[in-house]
């Protein structure tokens, strides 16, 4: 069976007129774990860490609105590191929902991490890392980081991929935590237009990265399915459940179609 679907959907769109590896592979790959870590940190600083930071900045005012503390807001980014879960958490705290209901809503919003983290595993465990370091690395899986890691990791030597990922994700996590803190402090003093622009930065980034990265017809089908279904299902079932169902449907249909086209059913 072809292994191409493991690495075939690699993003290479930043500066990427050609997707033949020129984008992320033009620079000499790192050759030590430390080098890989810093390369990841550097790639994060180039854009994704700021985008994630901007979106995590919005958690600060939200937490403040519901009278949560600064430490709680910052720790929620450091320890949860998932925008939707944090929005659900602080939003529901504000409405006085029972804690059990909040936990259920949070866990529903987080199911997406299962396929996202799992799909990165073949690359992240290539250097036979310990169980503990994989658990730590999994905390760094977020949509922005997942998108960036898929684009970059294929060009990093397999044994160094976890180190690279730690640098990439760790930098995003650090900047996001600082951003939430800043957002909490400056809440209310930012203009509405500016705040809307910051929130809009995330879908804008995902759209451009997805457009540049989808390589095969099945990939496009998965994107179209998710894009078309999630708002409809979201209005019907609520955003979290709608997102999950649209992802499961869109992804499974694309996968089945891809297998059929390859004749490997």
């Amino acid at each position: 069976m072809s292994m191409s679907w493991l690495t075939g959907w690699s993003f290479c769109a930043v500066k990427g007129r050609s997707c033949s590896g020129a984008a992320a592979g033009a620079v000499t790959p790192p050759n030590t774990a430390t080098g890989a870590f810093w390369r990841g940190a550097f790639d994060a600083i180039k854009l994704p860490a700021w985008l994630l930071g901007f979106s995590m900045m919005g958690i600060g005012p939200l937490a403040r609105d519901v009278h949560s503390g600064l430490v709680e807001a910052a720790l929620s980014t450091l320890l949860v590191f998932a925008g939707p879960a944090q929005v659900v958490y602080f939003g529901m705290l504000g409405t006085g929902a029972p804690l059990a209901a909040i936990a259920v809503a949070v866990t529903l919003s987080a199911v997406r991490f299962l396929p996202m983290t799992a799909s990165l595993m073949p690359m992240l465990r290539a250097g036979n890392p310990s169980w503990g370091s994989l658990l730590l690395a999994s905390h760094l899986v977020a949509v922005t980081i997942w998108v960036e890691a898929n684009r970059r990791l294929p060009y990093i030597p397999p044994a160094l991929r976890l180190s690279y990922f730690a640098g990439l994700g760790g930098t995003c996590l650090a900047i996001s935590t600082i951003a939430t803190t800043v957002g909490y402090v400056v809440a209310g003093s930012v203009s509405a237009a500016f705040a809307a622009g910051l929130l809009f930065g995330t879908p804008m980034f995902f759209t451009l990265t997805l457009l540049g990265g989808a390589r095969d017809r099945a990939g496009w089908a998965a994107l179209a399915g998710g894009f078309g279904l999630s708002p409809l299902l979201g209005l019907w079932l609520g955003p979290a459940a709608g997102l999950l169902l649209s992802g499961a449907l869109g992804g499974s249909i694309a996968f089945a179609a891809e297998r059929r086209l390859r004749g490997t059913t």
Binding site: M1, A82, A103, H139, P203, M204, A248
Partner: protein, 115 residues
């Protein structure tokens, strides 16, 4: 150094861990446990990859059509127009993500300011 707004102090941090951190983190851990016994060439990984792609596209669509916070102040037409403008700029300016991103975001900020 708990902020004056904090109502529960340490208790609120325990609530954060039990109600937000753990229910969120178990899915990241579950992925490692499930993947552990699977070979790298298992079809499972291709399947979850397409699901993840579909999920990311779904996140974009939801942020665009049913946004929260101040982004809801921008009309749906403005959000879509800004997104399309960003995509066109990205295409026209040599597919540079940072440039397309900047054009799209500035378009939205301008649109909201002009209201």
């Amino acid at each position: 150094m708990l902020h004056a707004h904090s109502e529960g102090g340490v208790l609120s941090l325990i609530v954060l861990v039990v109600v937000a951190v753990l229910p969120n983190e178990i899915w990241r851990w579950a992925a490692i446990i499930i993947a552990e016994h699977l070979r790298d060439d298992s079809p499972f990984f291709g399947w979850v990859r397409y699901i993840a792609m579909s999920l990311v596209a779904g996140v974009v669509a939801q942020l665009l059509w049913i946004p929260g916070g101040t982004l809801a102040d921008a009309s749906p037409g403005l959000r879509v127009a800004a997104l399309l403008l960003g995509v066109c700029a990205w295409q026209a300016l040599g597919r540079r993500i940072a440039l397309g991103w900047l054009v799209g975001v500035l378009a939205l900020v301008t649109g909201v300011s002009l209201r």
